[in-house]
Structure formats: C-alpha cells, structure tokens
Amino acid sequence: MSERHSITLTLNGTVISAKVDARTHLADFLRQHLRLTGTHIGCEHGVCGACNVMLDGRSARSCLMLAVQADGAVIETVEGLTASGIIADLQQEFVARNALQCGYCTPGILMTATELLSRTQPNRAEIRDALSGNYCRCTGYHAIVDAIEAIATRRAEAAS
C-alpha cells in the first residue's frame, strides 16, 4: 500500500482538498477520484497529449505528474474551461470545421491551443509546431490547424 497524502488545490475555480495515494498520477486522480472524465489517457508516458490540462496557466501532461505534486496548484480541465466560457469560440470552431472525429484527443488539443493563443497570434506553421505534442489519429490535423488559425485571426481582429 502506498502512502496517502493530503492535498489542496484550485480545480476549475474551486478550492478542493483530497487524500491521495502517493503513486496516483494527476490524470487518474481527475478521472477516477473526481470523475472528471474529459481528461483522457492515451499513453501514460507523456507522448500523446490526450491528458493535457492547464496547470498554473500553462498546458501540462497530467499523466506525468503525481496528484501530490498538484498540491497548491491552479488546475483547469476541459470541464472548467467549458464552464467558464473562455474557449467557447474555439470549441464552436472545432465543431463547425469538424476538427475532431472520435474526439479523444480534443480536450488535450484544446489545452495546447488555449496556451498558444494566449501567447501569440500563430500562423499555420507555428500552430502545427505547437501541436506536435498532441497526437490525433483521426483527423490528419488539417482541420484542427484551420480551426485554431481562424480563432487566432478572429481574436486578433476583435482586439484591434
């Protein structure tokens, strides 16, 4: 039996406390303990990006991080970003352009896109580059790039 630890973190805008096994990674904690199943697991070795969440404002692999390491952190999952409405434009664009098929990669890709769009107005090559930590087996990526590019342009227009 591994040791249990108390953690407190801000998850989707709410402060929560929990007791977790030392070995439980953050993705399992979110999915199994909190039943936040929008965060997906594709590899558990930090390659596919399906498990990405926002950690203190940056996208991060929740499979590579232990739940105990999230103590004191601010974490947003796709459920939280959806509820807050801050990526509604991006989500609508993904739907309108069919930038997802099975949808398993999508929450993780939305995290990467959220971070990217918060930093810059990326061009297609930069979007492709940023997405290189997210595998998608279904779409071939083209429509995902289209959707992120469209939102980059739209947000820039709205800001100017």
Binding site: H40, V47, C102, G103, R128, Y141
Partner: protein, 787 residues
C-alpha cells in the same frame, strides 16, 4: 471547409465531445466493478511448466485470480475457419493461454482487483516457470522447409496459398517492349487508436443476462461471438458501443483478452472492466500489413500495360484473427493489383505464414494500400523506362469501366468509374505542369523534389458475398428502424456505428430530407444491439453507402404510411399531401396537421382513424448489395515531397486528392474522412513500424518509440470531388472511409522515388526511414546523375 455549402452540417455529438462530455467505455460508471490486469507472456514462444498464483490471490484488493482452467467452465474454445480457404487453419484458441504461449503479449493470467493498480501489483506476484521454445519471427524463417511450428501440433506454418491467373502472362512478358520489376517490403503496423481497447462486462446471474460496454466497431458481431462462446442465447447478450476513441479496423475483431473479460463477468457474476494500457496495446492489438512483394510489369511500345506478375508473402502472427481471419490483407494485395487499369494478362500468388508475433488483422483499407503501391510504383518505373510522363502514362491505361461495367485482370468488379475525370481534375488542382518545371529548376540547385501519383479503386459497401460463402457470421447488411414518437419526434435506430466518421450526421441529413422533417426533431441511435436492428456496424466503408440506403428506404416507407393516415383523417388523397418540416400540407401547401398530431391520434385515439388497417409508424428496412460484391469507388492522389540526400529525410510538401464517392451527402465530413485516411497512409510510408528482433521480441512497443504522424510533419491536404452516383442504390452514395489510406502510401512511394531519379536510387522498404534512404543512396553510388 466548403463554407457556405448547406450540406456541411456539423456533427451534433461534436459539441458534446469538445466540452469533455465524451462517454467512452472507461468513463462509464458501474457499481462494484472489478478491474482486470493481465499477466502476459514475456516470450514470443514458450511452454508454461508451472504456475503459482498463491501470492497473487492474497495481494491487497484482489478479488479473483483467473487462469485458463477457470474459464473453461464458462467459455468454449474457438477456431477461426474460412470455409473457402481451408489452409487458413488456426489452432484452437481459448481466452487465456494454458500450456503454451505463442506470442509475446499473449494473456496468461487475469487478476481481478478493486483497482487497476492493485491488479497490476498482484500480477507481479504470479510466478510462472517457462521453457522457451523456438520462435518464428520473420517471413523467411516461417516459410523455411524445416521451420518449427508456431504452435505445437501444427503441421506447418503456411496459412494461405492462393493464386490467380488471367490471360497468358508468360507470353505477354516475352513479347513486351519493356519489362520493369521492383521489390517491396511493407513493415508491420498497428492501429494505435488514441483510446486503447476497453471493455466493461456485467453479468446478472439472476436473469442470466450479459451486458457488455465495448469500445468496438461491430457490436452485433460481438453479440454473436459472446453468445456462441459463452453459451448464452443471443437475446441474453447485449453489446453496447458508446463513444469510441478511434477504431480503424483494429477494433473489429474478437480479442482473446476481451473474451476473457466477458467470461470472467459470467464466472464471477459481477461487473469487470479491462482497459488496455499503451504498452499492452502494442503487444495485443492486431497488427497489419506485414508483407514482402515482388512485382513485374510488361508494357508495349505504345505505352499500354500488357501484363503483371505479383508474388506476395504475407505475415499473420500466431493465430488467425477471430472471426474474420487474417487472410484479407494478402488476398486484397493480389486481387486489387492494377484495379484502375486495363490489363489483359495477370498472375498473382500469395502465400501467408503464421509467426510467433501478435496476430494480424484488419487495418483501414486491408491490403488495398499494398496493391496500390505495387501497381503505381511499377507504373512509374515503366513510364520512365519508355520515356513517358507518368501522368500521361496512367491516363492512357485507365479502365473503361466509366462507360460499361468491367472486371479487372485480378477479378475486381467495377462500374461507373470516373478515373479520367478525376485525373484531369487533379492535374489542374495541383498545377502539374508548373510543379514539373519547378522540379527541374530545383534539381539544378541540388534540391530533390518528387511528384508521385496513385490512382486507386476503393472497395466500399462490401456485401454478403465476402464473408457469407466463408461461413463467417458477420452481418453485411445495414438496417434502419424508424419510429415516430407520440411527441412527433423521429427516432432512427441504425445498425451502422460511428466512431467519429460522422455517419450519424449523414443519416440524419438523408432522413430529414427524405422524410420532410426538421433535423432537430430526429434522434439517431447507434451501437446498442438491444435497440438497433442487425447489421454490420463500421467496416469496409459502408456507413452512408449501405446504412444511408436503408435509411432512405425506411424514410420513404414511413412517409407513405404517415400520408396514408393523414389522408384518411383529412379525407384527402394521400398523393396530394406533402410532409414538410414535420407538418402535413395539402395540395395548396397549407398546413393541415403535424406529425405529433398524427402520432398522438395513432397512439391514443386510433378509433378516430377511418382505416381498416392502420399503417405502422415504426418501420424497419435493411439493405445489402446482393448482386455485386461491393460498390467500387475511385479517385487519384498526388504527393509532392522533398528528399534530403545528406540526411535521408523526407518532407511532404503538398498532398492532393480527387475522390469520387458517388453522391456526397456532407462534403465537409467526406473531406475529413479522406484527410484522416491520407495521414494514416503517409504514416505507413514514412514512420510506422512494429520492429521485431530475430528472436520475436517487439523492440519498439511504446508510443515514444513507435512513430505516428504528428501535426508538424503533415502537409495541408487539398481535396476535390467528382460525383458519379452509383446506380446500385437509390441513394447513389459510395463509401469513402478508406479512400485516403488506399492510395496515400503509394503516392509517397512514387513521389520519393521520383525525387531520387537523378540520384539513381529507389526506395524499397516501407517505412522510408532516413537509414533506408541513405542505404539506397549509398547502393546507387551516391553520385548525382544528370536527369
């Protein structure tokens, strides 16, 4: 996106998926579920001398430790047999290996525990004494005269020996103006769905009912399999496929470890779940494609194809995949040769061998990419040899099946094709002449770009002629049950399943249009054997081609029933009435009554209807192509690549596809099917391979080591359509799900070899790793030659 095209209806479920509200199998709650982890064979081939599970049984959280003997009480062994291919004989299989494990990764012991972590901990406490047996890894060892058998007791490892001959190929080769030949190696690949295989099985011993939530493409097939192996009546087995995170053919077979999960549910009388982790996916998901091919092509002085001769060696793995077998890849590889072209003389032979590796099975486009690659590469070599432009050479040789039905030299049934139209469209789309000019200029600067084509035929909407004669219990029909609910909404339960292709949306569009109701009043139900009629699910590009036809027919019948009832209530001739937006209108176009009015009257006040027999507001229609084995679709793809001869790296610059899948219901969804398929084909050509050592150990079984295409490496993919509706159905749609994968690898082959022409080299082994490219360049002498 074809913005502004009203046919580009977004998928309803996409809104849920982007919000993290997917409901994949692992997301489903079940009370008191036992989590399963498997002890798997670490050896490619070994005898189990002794097993001790005592320590595992008392490990924390363990509910049960299950071995082959435990399951024999509830699960019968199975044999995968294809009636017409008696040599494709697979040894009897059981869910967990008993005395002998035949591939590295075969499940041996199942541990059921309160958590997956506890189950994994307990796996480490199982002690097994193994004696390693000789392992067959590569095709040559499998084929050797004195090869040891992959499993004790098998007479030899040959699992398929099939030949086909048309015309007089020997004479044609003798008289040819030019003959070219090439060797091809296709590495093993696997599906790598982002959601791993997952299954949750519950058995209620009180009523002896099994419910299986299954990340799978064909729930009706699995119901049949579970029923047969577990000895339960079909009506006591319910298989439900919830959201599925990618399938690609990999989630189409009955896996032994999944059979174990269902059997354990019956044995323990409680819900149990198995979710493969990525490492075990690589050693337990079906593999595919492994083959070596030698091909020859003869042409005459006018640039016409004369004859082809193709010999395929296909690798199967330890067992034939259940229930469809593993022969499809090799058979398609010889039968789809030259399918888009006129050819009089052909000889094809395929031999397939069992090996001590993961069983091979279905992967998107089954064997068609191999045939397409061999054909297109040989065409390019021949064009070069006789000094013809490769595009022009293809155009001279396309089959005439545009005008009249035809059969290819290897027996493929073709009709109403549009190869020349697709071809002309493609050349315009890619600005072919401009690209060639630029290629020539850049070569002077030692920049090596290549342009490659792949014309293709895609077998879509495959009907009962494939598995029916093989006595394989796989439904090839698709069916639709339409119900008008009392609130006037329409419920469509379809046998078709959707793993993100968008089939549901296609059916919804067909239904809304045919029936005359608003799309938002329609519910599409898929994937649940309890509520959907018997049918195939998702395989062989059938969703809209066949499922759409069934839906169209059901919609027309339901509409006629509705108007008959409305006519009697309104005392009007039904033929004068219309159903529009869910409202019955009279000849003058004035609204008379809603669908809800009619359904309410039928449901609760039928005494008011002045008809002797009231037609049903629930209808079922099914459709299977019975006069043709499949509905062939066609198209052409082109790749533009750049090869760095110093590093051996390949960059894909551009990619184009012109596809004809008949009537297009939703161009956006069709384009996305093609793009996804193309990228899987590019992955095959450039990155993906299961690397086995000579000892049968998989050396790259992790997602860090098995390369798949990533966004930064992939090009934009431009797509155009030619629409030739098929006359085989009222709807006119052909399938499209595999189109991209059929031709994309071939286009990369021809493009890379086109780039290498001035360097005098050709690639022969897929994937084209930098090492392979550099090896081939070294072999060619490394000296740039004049073009």
């Amino acid at each position: 996106m074809n913005s502004g095209d009203p046919r580009n209806v977004p998928r309803r479920e996409a809104a849920r998926l982007v919000a993290g509200k997917g409901r994949y199998t692992d997301d489903i709650d079940a009370g008191d579920v036992g989590h399963i982890a498997f002890v798997r064979s670490p050896y490619p081939h070994a005898r189990i001398d002794r097993m001790n599970c005592d320590a595992a049984r008392v490990a924390p959280g363990v509910i049960a430790v299950i071995t082959a003997d435990d399951l024999s009480a509830v699960c019968k062994p199975w044999e995968t047999r294809l009636a017409l291919l008696p040599t494709h004989l697979s040894p009897e299989q059981i869910p967990l290996a008993r005395d002998e494990a035949c591939w590295q990764g075969e499940a041996v012991v199942a541990i059921v525990a309160k958590t997956r972590a506890q189950a994994e901990d307990a796996c480490e406490r199982v002690e097994i004494d193994w004696t390693e047996l000789p392992a067959i890894a590569d095709l040559d060892s499998a084929a050797a005269e004195d090869a040891p058998p992959v499993k004790s007791g098998m007479p030899n490892n040959l699992g398929l020996d099939h030949g086909i001959s048309t015309g007089d190929p020997d004479a044609a080769f003798r008289d040819a103006a030019a003959v070219v030949e090439h060797d091809f190696t296709f590495s093993r690949q696997t599906g790598v769905t982002l959601e791993p295989r997952t299954i949750l099985a519950s058995f209620d011993p009180r009523v002896r009912e099994l419910v299986v939530q299954h990340s799978h493409q064909a729930p009706h097939q699995m119901r049949e399999v579970f029923s047969a192996q577990l000895g339960l009546p079909l009506s006591a087995v319910r298989v439900v496929a919830p959201d599925v995170g990618g399938a690609f053919g990999m989630k189409l077979c009955a896996y032994p470890d999944e059979m174990a999960v269902a059997a354990i549910a019956v044995l323990l009388g409680r819900p149990v779940k198995f979710c493969a982790d990525r490492l075990e996916s690589f050693v337990s998901d079906n593999h595919a494609r492994e083959a070596r091919v030698r091909g020859r092509l003869a042409v005459d002085t006018d640039g016409k194809l004369l004859a082809m001769d193709v010999a395929v060696l296909s690798g199967f793995g330890a067992y034939a995949s259940h229930p469809r077998g593993s022969a499809g890849e090799g058979l398609q590889a010889v039968h789809m040769i030259a399918a888009p072209y006129q050819l009089a003389h052909y000889r094809g032979r395929v031999r397939g061998y069992f090996q001590n590796k993961v069983p091979s099975g279905i992967l998107r486009a089954v064997g068609q990419p191999l045939a397409c690659t061999v054909t297109e590469q040989l065409l390019d070599l021949a064009a070069r040899k006789i000094g013809l432009d490769p595009a022009d050479f293809r155009r001279r040789n396309y089959t005439d099946a545009d005008d009249k039905p035809a059969r290819s030299a290897a027996g493929i049934v073709l009709s109403q094709l549009s190869l020349r139209r697709c071809h002309d469209r493609l050349l315009a789309l890619m600005n072919y002449d401009g690209l060639r000019r630029r290629q020539t200029e850049l070569r002077k600067e030692k920049c090596y770009r290549g342009i490659g084509f792949a014309a293709f035929i895609e077998q879509t909407g495959v009907g009962p002629q494939l598995y029916g004669p093989q006595n394989v219990r796989v439904s090839a029909q698709e069916a639709c049950r339409l119900t008008v609910e009392a609130d006037g909404r329409v419920r469509c339960a379809t046998s078709v399943t959707d793993q993100g292709q968008g089939t549901r949306t296609g059916l919804l569009q067909i239904l809304a249009q045919e029936l005359g109701v608003a799309p938002d009043t329609i519910e599409i139900v898929t994937g649940d054997t309890q509520v959907t009629p018997l049918g195939g699910g998702a395989w062989a590009s059938r969703g809209v081609a066949l499922g759409g036809e069934a839906t169209l027919r059901a919609a027309r019948r339901l509409k006629s029933n509705v108007l008959t009832i409305a006519g009697s209530l309104l005392q009007a001739d039904p033929a004068s009435l219309q159903l529009q937006g869910g409202v019955v209108c009279n000849a003058a176009g004035l609204a008379q009554m809603s669908l809800a009015d009619i359904a309410t009257t039928v449901g609760f006040r039928s005494h008011l209807i002045p008809l002797d027999d009231i037609p049903d507001l629930e209808v079922v229609e099914s459709f299977a192509p019975r006069n043709t084995p499949y509905i062939a679709a066609n198209g052409i793809q082109a790749a533009h690549v750049e090869v760095d001869p110093e590093l051996g790296t390949i960059r894909v610059l551009d990619f184009w596809v012109v596809d004809d899948c008949g009537r297009v219901i939703n161009p956006m969804l069709v384009d996305e099917q093609i793009r996804g398929g193309v990228v899987q084909g590019i992955g095959a050509a450039l990155y993906e391979q299961c690397i086995y050592g000579a000892d049968g150990q998989l050396e790259n079984g992790s997602l860090a080591d098995y390369l798949v295409p990533m966004a930064g490496e992939m090009p934009d993919i431009r797509i155009a359509h030619v629409e030739t509706p098929t006359a085989m159905t009222t709807l006119g749609a052909r399938g499209v799900g595999e189109a991209g994968t059929v031709g994309a690898a071939a286009a990369i082959w021809t493009a890379v070899n086109d780039a290498l022409v001035p360097l005098g080299a050709t690639v022969t082994e897929q994937p084209f790793t930098p090492e392979h490219v550099l090896d081939r360049l070294a072999l060619a002498g490394d000296q740039p030659r004049p073009t």
